[in-house]
């Protein structure tokens, strides 16, 4: 569970020195990219709640039945359900784990966590962000002023309280989180991995810099020439990306800013199914929607053309005015 220990600087540097950071094309398939994620790894997941979730990549990891992952994400929704319900993840490191504001408590999370079979490691939202940021900056910790005095901190011996050497104030040092792999979904990137992200960034830039490898799924691949025309719009540089997978609607049934909003009918049927029976309901869902389809487009077809188009028109409407 790498998520727990701060990696030594020597080890971080060594890992990075090993990576091929040359300007090279790295476009591959979902199943090829999945090979970067191995059993027992700590995986950072981009986006937040129901936004820009790298759902196609998670879907592929379930199909390849990865095991014993520790998954870190700022806020977790149905993606967390699928990861613990499918058996892929042993532990979720996050600040909030439900099915979404609209549905509240996740019966799937409750079933697996209350039984002690899976773990839900809780940090404050900002603390998760500062753990990724410390990892991105190549330092072992960030100082913060929240979590102090709370029971959230009492359950987190990984963090250390100090008296500030400058002001004498109490501060909390949260440990750097450098995931083995980060999974991030973006609106567009080039074949080298230079990524543009529209709208809400969440913690994806820090996550990308912190991780020891990065898999990008992208709605489309654009030319490097187009990227070079607006270099100040590049949010993630190519040399921290190890795989690029072109996956239209790769965040479905969640949303991708400016392109599609959540596919609510599918989400509601999912919630009804798994909350009715968090074990059999989840198994049925996985059989039908994850293991059943031969490809990601086939999964989208199961969501249904009409719902996909509706979500698309709502998604694009953000730019209508």
């Amino acid at each position: 569970m790498t998520g727990y220990e701060v990696q030594s600087y020597a080890r971080l540097r060594e890992n990075l020195a090993q990576r091929d950071r040359s300007l090279r094309e790295k476009v591959m398939s979902l199943s090829e990219a999945a090979s970067f994620v191995q059993d027992g790894m700590t995986v950072g997941v981009g986006g937040s709640t129901m936004s820009r979730t790298p759902m196609a990549m998670l879907w592929e990891l379930i199909r390849q039945s990865r095991k014993h992952l520790t998954v870190a994400r700022c806020i977790v929704s149905t993606d967390g359900d699928l990861l613990v319900g499918s058996g892929v993840a042993d532990e979720i490191v996050t600040s909030w784990f439900a099915q979404g504001i609209l549905w509240g408590l996740s019966k799937v999370m409750r079933h697996h966590v209350e039984s002690g079979e899976k773990r839900f490691q809780e940090w404050s939202h900002m603390a998760i962000g500062m753990r990724f940021r410390a990892g991105a900056m190549g330092v072992p910790f960030m100082p913060i002023r929240s979590m102090l005095g709370s029971d959230v901190l009492r359950l987190r011996p990984e963090a250390k309280e100090i008296d500030c050497p400058f002001t004498g104030e109490k501060l909390l040092l949260v440990p750097a989180l450098n995931p083995d792999v980060a999974l991030i979904h973006v609106q567009r990137c080039d074949a080298y991995g230079n990524a543009q992200i529209d709208g809400l960034q969440f913690m994806d830039i820090d996550l990308a810099m912190a991780a020891n490898s990065v898999i990008l799924t992208t709605e489309r691949i654009v030319s490097n020439d187009q990227v070079r025309r607006a270099p100040d719009q590049t949010k993630i540089p190519f040399f921290c990306v190890d795989a690029v997978v072109e996956t239209p609607y790769g965040a479905a049934p969640h949303e991708c800013y400016g392109l599609y909003e959540p596919m609510m009918r599918h989400m509601e049927s999912y919630v009804a199914r798994v909350n009715a029976d968090p074990v059999r309901g989840m198994r049925d869902y996985l059989d039908r929607y994850v293991l059943g389809p031969k490809s990601w487009p086939e999964f989208l077809a199961l969501i249904g053309m009409e719902e996909v188009l509706e979500a698309t028109s709502r998604g694009r409407s953000i730019y209508n005015d």
Binding site: E114, M126, L148, S150, D151, M203, Y257
Partner: protein
């Protein structure tokens, strides 16, 4: 009562909460009643009020009938002044740019500590709740207004777990733990409006809602309440407040 002056609990909470805000404030709001209340205040009295969302939004512009379902989806950004990273928007709280944090609550205690993590013993919980999200950060770093339903099981002497710190164990315990700024400012329920005593930091009834008496509030509270020297009686929602609020949520997503 005339037809127009009937209102739901959520409408009551939103309207009383809105009255707590001042023009020019920067408010960190959750969705639902908090967002409705902040937007209502903006429309009624506070044109210079700024609303922040946890997902990474500054100065959102909420259009009537287009309320965002969560703070992390694209609808929150429509016509906003700025969209930024979610760590960045939370750091605004730490730097001190935010005047008020505004959220709902599941369980609260006499010192205004909030629990959204565990019902029962955290080691073997009866219920694992969703957790803090930004709640711990907001309540650690700014002044809080909480709007919640008033039930005995929700108003307890000591929360099972301090997810979002109020005044912790009262007196100076919050400051001594390193939380030098902010603290619980107001709790608003369908029964009353509560503040916290400057010394003891215990929950204190400041005003009773129309038609509610002290016994009723105490009977629905799991610990002995303090009452302010001069307990006021809150003005009921006005026609104008109700009409403006209902325009914001015509489908009654949050005010039903």
């Amino acid at each position: 009562m005339t037809e127009t002056l009937r209102y739901t609990t959520s409408e009551m909470l939103a309207i009383l909460a809105a009255r707590q805000l001042k023009d020019g404030q920067v408010v960190f709001a959750g969705v639902g009643v908090p967002l409705l209340a902040a937007t209502l205040a903006q429309r009624l009295r506070c044109p210079g009020l700024t609303i922040l969302f946890e997902g990474g939004v500054i100065g959102a512009f909420v259009e009537p009938g287009k309320l965002p379902p969560s703070t992390n989806d694209q609808r929150c950004t429509k016509r906003a002044n700025m969209v930024l990273g979610s760590a960045e928007v939370l750091l605004l709280l730490q730097r001190g740019y935010v005047d008020v944090g505004f959220m709902g609550g599941a369980q609260i205690d006499q010192y205004g500590n909030l629990n959204s993590s565990f019902i029962g013993d955290p080691a073997a919980p009866k219920t694992r709740l969703p957790g803090t999200g930004g709640g711990n950060d907001i309540s650690s770093l700014t002044n809080m207004i909480v709007a919640m339903k008033h039930e005995k099981r929700r108003f307890v002497e000591k929360v099972d777990f301090v997810t979002s710190p109020g005044f912790l164990r009262g007196r100076r315990s919050r400051a001594e733990s390193g939380l030098v700024a902010g603290g619980m400012f107001r709790v608003i329920t369908e029964l009353a409006i509560f503040g916290f005593d400057d010394d003891s930091r215990r929950m204190t009834v400041l005003a009773l809602n129309p038609g509610v008496n002290r016994e009723e509030v105490q009977d629905n509270t799991g610990f002995p309440l303090d009452f302010h020297d001069r307990v006021a009686v809150t003005e009921p929602p006005s026609n104008h407040e109700l009409e403006t609020l209902r325009l914001l949520d015509p489908e009654r997503l949050f005010i039903a």
